[in-house]
Symmetry: C2
Subunit: 277 residues, 2 copies
């Protein structure tokens, strides 16, 4: 049987934190990564749009032969996972369940903070996943919409990043959480800043690490020979991706290609010239 | 002849600052506004993608009967205007030329600062437009990629907005500019913060005002009777648009509809299964 790659998609560069962990754990596997850099960020978009985009992205990974699809974007995972599972004939895994499980393993007092994009927090996906594991858990959720733009601009260690983080995290610290889930794959990029803000006594759950641990169970017969090949696809701005990726991965991205969209707007209820007159 | 609307498009809510000025100057005209909220922001996207999106948006406005197309997004205007002018049979006006002209009218020492998105500044469109009017003008350009997310999040008067603005504008103040072009239609939303940072001695050019002045010359026979109707279309997140719009326009948005996309990814140089094996 020919080698088939692990497929990973994200709205942009954030999923590279997931890629990095999976590459580390599966050195012999081929990996195909798709970053939807033309349409980043997903966080502020509506549920329906994120589902549409996720299905398009997963379809693209299937076209590239992916044997499993990793949704390395919490916003997409939090709303699109059931649709993706129904729509594809290969396993689909998201970052929510693994993150929730890791949080429940780490917490002592079951007071768990979750930070994520507007879309992720609004979906309640983490809250539900954690409470499925431990119904009495107290989950305090906080959207942090400016973290993705900060990470995408490379301002993750800038003093304003720290100030913004302090403001977003204040209610969680006040609520006396003992564990904080970084519910967006961009957030590990800000890990150092977040650590400074929350101090040393709160456990940080990096969903990138959590999902790669999960994947070990999903791929019991993973490739054990040869050097795994990486292929990267983006929907826009190859050069910017290359630059950010080399920072996140600490190495140069080799095989990178830009893909294009064919698209037309349509209106569901067009206004007729008569109505307008 | 039946009434035909003025068409305006932007990547999101920023163009509403242009809409507001045009509505004020043309109370009898119908206006159709399209905000591409599914794909906002345009600033970090590549030239080719912004041109593609702009053509789709303008085509949509033409389908709605627009007699003139106002590109109320500096990023789109800075790269797509020639393509739009060639592609459509109605006049197309951008925000760059009017902004450059307004700056040259206001400046005394011909030391002009321009702030905008990455895409706008990289294109050099303002620099060229100003130097066409006055070749010896000194233009100091500065990309401000975090301003759009700040405005879209409603953080325009937050202390961190001021801090970020102070950092972005420092080189312009050091260069002793006397005029500052707000080269992004989102930036008038941050006007108060920007004014605090630059002080009272620097003239601010609001491209929204500039383009509506320009339009007066382009539409000499504008409608003079009846109450102009507004129609708004967005590609995503109707409710968020409604909320931000009511803040920017100081009134509720009435006729608002969401439009959808039909789309498929394709790769220009697909990798064959043989190559992968």
């Amino acid at each position: 049987m020919s080698r088939r790659p692990i497929g990973i998609f994200d709205s942009g560069v954030g999923g590279l934190t997931v890629f990095r962990e999976i590459r580390r754990r599966f050195p012999h596997e081929d990996i195909v990564y798709f970053g939807d850099t033309a349409r980043v960020p997903y966080g502020p978009k509506s549920r329906g749009t994120v589902i549409d985009y996720s299905v398009q992205n997963a379809r693209f990974l299937r076209q590239q032969g992916a044997k499993i699809i990793v949704v390395a974007c919490n916003t997409a995972a939090s709303v699109a996972l059931p649709t993706l599972e129904r729509s594809f004939d290969v396993p689909v895994i998201g970052v929510i369940e693994p993150g929730a499980l890791a949080a429940e393993k780490l917490t002592r007092r079951h007071r768990i903070g979750v930070i994520g994009t507007e879309g992720t927090i609004r979906s309640g996906a983490y809250q539900k996943a954690i409470q499925r594991l431990y119904p009495a858990a107290e989950v305090i959720a906080q959207p942090c919409p400016l973290f993705v733009p900060l990470a995408e601009e490379g301002w993750e260690e800038h003093p304003v990043a720290r100030q913004i983080a302090a403001e977003y995290l204040a209610p969680l610290l006040e609520a006396d959480i003992d564990t904080l889930v970084l519910g967006c794959t961009h957030y590990p990029i800000l890990k150092q800043t977040l650590r400074q803000v929350v101090g040393d006594h709160i456990a940080l759950v990096d969903s990138a690490e959590a999902v790669s641990t999960w994947l070990v169970d999903m791929l019991p017969h993973s490739e054990s020979e040869g050097v795994g090949r990486d292929e990267f696809f983006v929907s826009d701005n190859e050069e910017k991706f290359r630059r950010l990726a080399s920072r996140i991965l600490d190495s140069e991205v080799d095989r990178l290609q830009q893909v294009s969209l064919g698209e037309t707007w349509y209106v569901e209820h067009p206004i007729t010239p008569e109505e307008r007159a």
